[in-house]
Amino acid sequence: MMRKSSILFQIYLVAIFAFIFAPIITSMIFSFNSDRFPTFPLGHFTLHWYETAFARPEVWLAFRNSAVVALAAAFLSTILGFATAYTDFRYGFRFKSAYLALALLPPTIPLVIMGLAMLAWLGRMGLSGTLVGIIIAHTVMGAPFAMAICRLRLQSMDPALEAAAWNLGASQWSAMRHVVLPFCLPALISAYCLTAAVSFDEFIVSWFVSGLNKTVPVMILEILQGNVDPQINAIGTVVFMTSISLVIVAQVMIFKKSSQ
């Protein structure tokens, strides 16, 4: 009985993963396929679609935009997220639960609403269509994730650790630099990678605010609107590999805490 149910469970698991990854894997396979249209049987192996896609200057520009936005937004999100998590860890104050709820709110806002709101707000500030505008929007979206990760880490910190640093002659800032930040380093790396991945993949809000400074997901849509081309598969594969690498680093760093 036991055996049978465990086999069933394994089949179930494989089915779930197949369901999730089949479209991505298919897209990857067709990115290396010589045929113009995604049909079986496959043609021969080729790097042609990658060559043509990355021969286009607008593709390079989109990747450059996405990279700048992701790196900057992840940096700001991580700082904001850590600061919020630390406030929660260190201080008790009135309306703290309201403060935390507010800090965790952005992911619950429908993306279309967020995109519209950002467009209106950034437009008013003259930042619509600029990379700075996209960075602001992605920082708002990433910070709650960074905060959740930092909070998890801080929860596993002995509250006496910081006080021990003061007791040994460290000022508040030295204690932060020499004790709290080193303790949280895995979480900070993890938060940075995860928020970078969130930003790199994000489409809807970018589509609203990016204007002429297109990020990769916005550019993909533009190419798709023109014609269906295996170049999309090639670009998609690169985007997927980038994001999944960031997420894997983030996960490894989160789990590192249990070993320390």
Partner: protein, 331 residues
């Protein structure tokens, strides 16, 4: 006390409406080993934290070396603390942990290393300097925490229940390490604990706290034989509290001064009912119930146990000589 190292004058600490420490007056001499003892919530840890500057007194003042310390932040004081959780830095190795205090004080790397290695050696941790904290046993971590606090050669060391997480046999060994260190260094130790055996076996003076106030200060033997209040007598344990001759007066007779007999003896005696016995090493404690329902104890020898062979519910008489009676202050 002339020229005490520490002086608490009328110190209080409240959190909202809760008073953790009320009007505390205490002087601690140089080179003294003082234990502050009491049940949880009695204010002992708050008192220690105020001394370290981790809490600010709500009233009164704390002087160290004659200087009022109330507003001196923790990092500007030289009052290293050994924490109950040890609070070793998990991301630093043993030597880096020991060096931390010196690093914060801007001592050069070479000197830091030399002094850290010296103290690790002194505490029997030679060869462990590059280990990670999670690669050490409980007793080794304890000694790293001690080295980290003592390496800056402070005038005073604060200890907050440092042995509570150790195995019983290690506790005894660490007690030896601590008393030896204190004598050798000649510095003041302020040791907070709820454990009577730790406090009584190590300290020169014991401060008993209850409900935020000092109940009694004295040498361990004095506190044991002559508890000032009922609170102290009950907290110290192994004491029998008996009604005195005058109204409101209470007497204390230690369990080891009680004589158990089957028939009514001469002199002071009360009739009791046997409840149970407890083995504490080589001595045995008999528990009885008095006629008013109160619990009474007598420490007896193995021979007495064999001779009397008490059964629960059996009636005995407890007697004591007049000179083993201590009269407590009225409540």
């Amino acid at each position: 006390m002339t020229d005490p190292l520490v002086r608490f004058h009328n110190v209080s600490k409240s959190y909202g409406t809760y008073e953790a420490v009320k009007g505390l007056n205490l002087e601690i001499a140089r080179g003294e080993f003082v234990a502050i003892m009491g049940p949880s919530g009695c204010g002992k840890t708050t008192t220690l934290r105020m001394l370290a500057g981790l809490e600010t007194p709500s009233g009164g003042d704390i002087r160290i070396d004659g200087k009022v310390m109330n507003d001196v932040p923790a990092h500007e004081r030289d009052t290293p603390l050994v924490w109950q959780s040890l609070a070793l830095f998990p991301f630093l190795n043993v030597r880096e942990n020991v060096e931390f205090g010196m690093k914060m004080r801007g001592i050069a790397a070479a000197e830091r290393k030399e002094r850290a290695l010296l103290w690790l050696d002194r505490l029997g941790l030679k060869g462990f300097e590059d280990r990670r904290i999670d690669q050490l046993s409980g007793g080794q971590r304890q000694r790293v925490a001690l080295a980290r606090s003592l390496v800056t050669e402070p005038e005073m060391l604060l200890l907050d229940e440092p042995l509570s997480a150790l195995d019983p046999h290690l506790v005894i060994r660490m007690q030896g390490v601590l008393t030896r260190l204190q004598k050798e260094l000649g510095i003041t130790f302020v040791y907070v604990t709820h454990s009577q055996s730790e406090a009584f076996s190590m300290a020169d003076r014991v401060v008993i706290m209850g409900h935020g106030e000092i109940e009694q200060i004295g040498a361990p033997q004095d506190i044991f034989r002559a508890p000032r209040t009922r609170f102290v007598a009950e907290f110290v344990g192994r004491n029998n509290i008996l009604p005195g001759d005058k109204p409101g007066q209470e007497l204390v007779v230690a369990a080891d001064r009680m004589v158990v007999s089957e028939n009514r003896p001469e002199g002071n005696a009360i009739k009791v009912e046997f409840l149970s016995e407890e083995f504490a090493g080589t001595s045995i404690i008999f528990y009885f119930e008095g006629e008013g329902g109160e619990e009474l104890k007598a420490q007896v020898s193995e021979e007495t146990l064999a001779r009397l062979a008490p059964e629960p519910g059996q009636t005995f008489w407890l007697s004591w000589s007049p000179d083993s009676v201590h009269v407590m202050e009225p409540v």
